[in-house]
Amino acid sequence: MTEETAEETAGELPERYVDEKKLRRQSRRDFILFGTGAFAALAGLWWIAPLGSKKKVFGEHTADALDTLAARLGATRERSERFQNRALTFDDDIAEALYSPNRTVRTYSKRDITPLRNNYEGRTPSPDYIKEWTLTLTGLASSNDVVLRLPDLSSLAQHEQITRLCCVEGWSAIAGWSGVRFGDLLRAYPPAPGAKWAAIESAVNLDGNGNPDPYYVSIDLPTARHPQTLLATHLNGTPLGADHGAPLRLVAPMKLGLKNIKAITKIAYTVDEPRDFWGERGYSKYDGL
């Protein structure tokens, strides 16, 4: 026991004779660094903090006064947004570097299936649209647009998979999907040379008041070609209802749920990165899991 004590306490608190002037100088330097750092941290946090939080915690007047001062010193709202968005794109770059087209998403068995909630941001469209539904493909190699109806897709091989849908909000659900592979559609109707992206749109999407509010996502073609990226027509063995994006929705389980667009009406192949609904609202544009 004494041996252990001796050995393990050794070197934990080394003592030194240090030149007093040097000690004072270095300590002063460390205190100055500490103070500067503390101030910089507070100022930095203030700079990037949401306006609402600042007003709630410090009161309207103090928050406004400090924000005015910050803006005069160059720490403006616009610069703060740009800086924070860079953190988002940095994380996207990391995610893209991690992505492997050969890595498959974990699949589950039927008994793992959980209820899937309808997470339409606005109102769920009335199922009336399903009868007249068509899918328009543009940006094709043939340079003519193609308009498809559901039976046109039945010539493609049908696939089934039970995968997890992860929402950016934090919840997730395991669901069984069946439909055609996006990759098979790309082979059947090849995009124009040089295309790198698919701009996928739903014209039937509604806002909270029930007014038309088209939803759109960007999907990179390598993700679209992934064998587990489906254009699904069925959920757990039954045709999709209006709540889950009838008659055709995207199932890309290697992307967050918000990329898994419901009730697709148009797919455009593009060279440049298309706009993305949530990407325009402060979220990541990549959303790779």
Partner: protein, 332 residues
């Protein structure tokens, strides 16, 4: 210093009885570091065993060299070392830097994490008939706000005052990613500082930790009652850098940090890091661990700050300047 202890009967009680001449002569022979050495930016000289035999040291250097034994109770000897001060080297510069960087980083990670959590709480109960809340954290906010004059006691209060607000998922995620990369970088700096400064030694588990831990719990439990009763209540004798409870708590911090990162990445990239997700059992398993680690950080923080304030200025200062004036780890 390890060498010194090896050929010496390194029992604390014995060391106390050693003659001053003997101890300082030995220290002179063993420690080759000159006193001009920067105390804050260099690893303590005792870390690696001395490479050359001490006899090879030039005599000129020996006169300015000293490093008394750890438990040496002698006061600083200004006569033999004019213009110098005897100090304890406590924290490597990188350890101090990462310690203080973690203050704003953990703050930002927790407040943004709470706003992310708001979007879809993982711990839910049946809706409350009055408040309609299903979320325990919202309940907590309602309970607090009811005692604050003028506060609106609704389910948003908690997230508005302890988080980055409600309906701010995008903004909170952006913060979380920004600070998690800083947290990761800081973690590396901390580990590097522990290795360079030898501070890791004070965190390694010891056999006597359990018994010593109970002694500390007994001490803490009695310290306030005994103060009220005005009875003497002695702090257990500590010869190590930290007492057993501190040792356990500080050693658990890098582990908790690693767990927070692992569970966070398991949620953030469950497809690419599928093995991490499996490690936590399930996707929600990772969420629960992530949340539990946050609670652990907060539970650590309260006694950590209280005890530093109680312990005094020297302890607080040592985390800024790196050295302590408490020779021999003395606890007054």
């Amino acid at each position: 210093m390890t060498q010194m202890d090896a050929d010496k009967p390194a029992d604390d009680g014995k060391a106390l009885t050693d003659s001053a001449e003997e101890a300082s002569a030995e220290a002179v022979a063993v420690d080759p570091k000159p006193i001009e050495e920067v105390p804050v930016e260099e690893p303590p000289s005792d870390e690696p065993p001395v490479k050359e035999p001490p006899v090879e040291q030039p005599p000129a250097e020996e006169t300015v060299v000293d490093a008394p034994q750890i438990s040496d109770p002698r006061p600083p000897t200004p006569d033999s070392h004019p213009g110098t001060r005897l100090v304890v080297i406590k924290h490597h510069a990188l350890v101090r830097l990462s310690h203080w960087l973690n203050v704003p980083i953990l703050f930002a990670l927790i407040v943004s994490g709470l706003s992310i959590y708001w979007a879809s709480p993982v711990f839910l109960h049946k809706p409350d008939p009055v408040t309609h809340s299903r979320d325990y954290l919202a309940d907590l906010g309602i309970a607090i706000a009811r005692h604050i004059p003028g506060a609106k006691a609704d389910g948003f209060w908690f997230y508005d005052h302890f988080g980055l607000g409600v309906f701010n998922l995008a903004g909170a995620l952006r913060w979380h990613w920004l600070f998690v990369y800083l947290f990761l970088a800081t973690g590396f700096l901390y580990i590097l500082g522990l290795l360079l400064g030898g501070g890791y030694r004070a965190l390694l588990p010891r056999r006597r930790m359990i018994a010593d831990g109970f002694a500390m719990i007994r001490y803490y439990a009695g310290v306030v009652p005994m103060k009220i009763l005005r009875r003497p209540w002695e702090h257990p004798h500590i010869t190590t850098k930290y007492n057993a409870l501190q040792r356990g708590a500080y050693a658990s911090m890098p582990i908790a940090g690693a767990l927070a990162l692992a569970s966070g990445w398991a949620m953030h990239k469950p497809v690419q890091f599928w093995w991490l997700e499996r490690l936590f059992g399930s996707y929600d398993g990772a969420r629960i661990v992530h949340f539990a680690v946050m609670i652990y950080f907060i539970l650590f923080l309260v006694p950590h700050v209280v005890l530093v304030l109680v312990d005094g200025w020297d302890t607080m200062r040592s985390m800024i300047v790196g050295w302590s004036g408490r020779i021999g780890g003395s606890h007054d």
